[in-house]
């Protein structure tokens, strides 16, 4: 393998969080971002072609190695960990925040037709949701948005990777 590509692979592997092209460019001083992106794309392709146990994924604005989703049963056996479940109520709340951010709690309540306090609190605890500011209306209610961790957990490159609500509606019809 070409040395630059090998370095990039090692960096992504060694990083604790998804590694961005910018960060790699910082380390490989003077390297063009376009070339780094290209090498990353090649690596993504290499792992896909191989159909092995690990994949290189574009996630949360960076790249990260992850195990193949097909093999989750086996990895779970290894980790013997409780699955990190998100309840349906929390998922609904999360979906509203993801699509409507920045959004105030009153709107979340209205969309769901129930008080979202409990679900919201759980999402804040799990760091899937964060406070992004306050709305400039009387009472200055808190505005909520999703976090980088939300992108990491749901395997999303960025928010634009979410299907649009219209696409989802068409799916139903």
């Amino acid at each position: 393998m070409e040395q630059k590509k090998a370095i990039i692979e090692a960096l992504v592997f060694a990083s604790e969080a998804p590694l961005s092209v910018e960060r790699i460019a910082d380390i490989l001083t003077g390297e063009e971002k376009a070339l780094i992106s290209q090498a990353l794309q090649e690596l993504v392709g290499d792992y896909e072609e191989r159909k092995g146990g690990i994949y290189l994924q574009a996630v949360a604005g960076g790249y990260q190695f992850r195990t193949s989703p097909d093999l989750s049963t086996w990895v779970k056996k290894l980790r013997a960990a409780k699955p990190v479940g998100v309840s349906p109520a929390a998922l609904e709340t999360l979906a509203i925040i993801a699509y409507r951010q920045p959004v105030v709690k009153a709107d979340i309540d209205r969309f769901r037709g129930v008080d979202a306090a409990g679900a919201l609190r759980g999402l804040l605890d799990k760091k899937l949701v964060r406070i992004v500011g306050r709305k400039d209306v009387p009472g200055k209610p808190i505005l909520y948005g999703t976090t980088r961790k939300f992108l990491e957990v749901f395997n999303l490159q960025d928010l634009s990777a979410l299907p649009t609500l219209r696409e989802l509606k068409e799916l139903q019809e």
Binding site: A95, A98, R112
Partner: protein, 238 residues
Amino acid sequence: MAYEIKLDIFEGPLDLLLYLIKKNEIDIYDIPIALITRQYLEYIEMLRSLNLDLAGEFLVLAATLLHIKSRLLLPVEEDPSTQDEEDPRAELVRQLLDYQAFKEAALELDRRPVLERDVFTRLCPVAEPNDPEDPEVFVEMDVFDLVRAFQQIFTRLDKADMIEIEAEEMSLADRINEIMDRLMERKHLTFTELIGARTDRRWILYTFLALLELMKLRMIKAYQSESYGAIRLFLAVE
């Protein structure tokens, strides 16, 4: 009871309503309110007869349905001016469509390869554990950690010491910080310079309150060379 529904499967009244619409194969844009209201009330009655806790929101929607039903029962007037009046069901339909979209979005999220459920990352440390910390790069922190820390302190204090901190005070602290920043750069400023070109009353008021607070703390000194002249502000201590 005619229904064979698990009791805890509904996330709320809209979810229940959506279920009834699907079950009856009804067009969401043309809901037969009488039928749906009857089934909705029957379901709620069943929950009550089982002494289950019913969230208040379920009753609110029951009232809404009954209200819509009564409005639909009113005779349609011939008067053309009432022709433009919206279908009493319209608002509910909008709400249901939104809810349906978000419910689908939630399911879509759940279908993704979720970290620590479907996919896993490397856990084994790669390098030696004594890496130097870089004071320029921070772990992303959440404001809620901060509030929780603050709240924890308060639970340790006497109730008498407990003072609610309002958003108002926060923006005051903001102004105080900005004023101190600018004074440290410029050594002295006039009140007019501080206000700048902004005209919103709230902002001017906070600037003023911040100055009063700073003077009370004796962090700044204010001088006026003549009456109605420019107010000059200095740091009290260099």
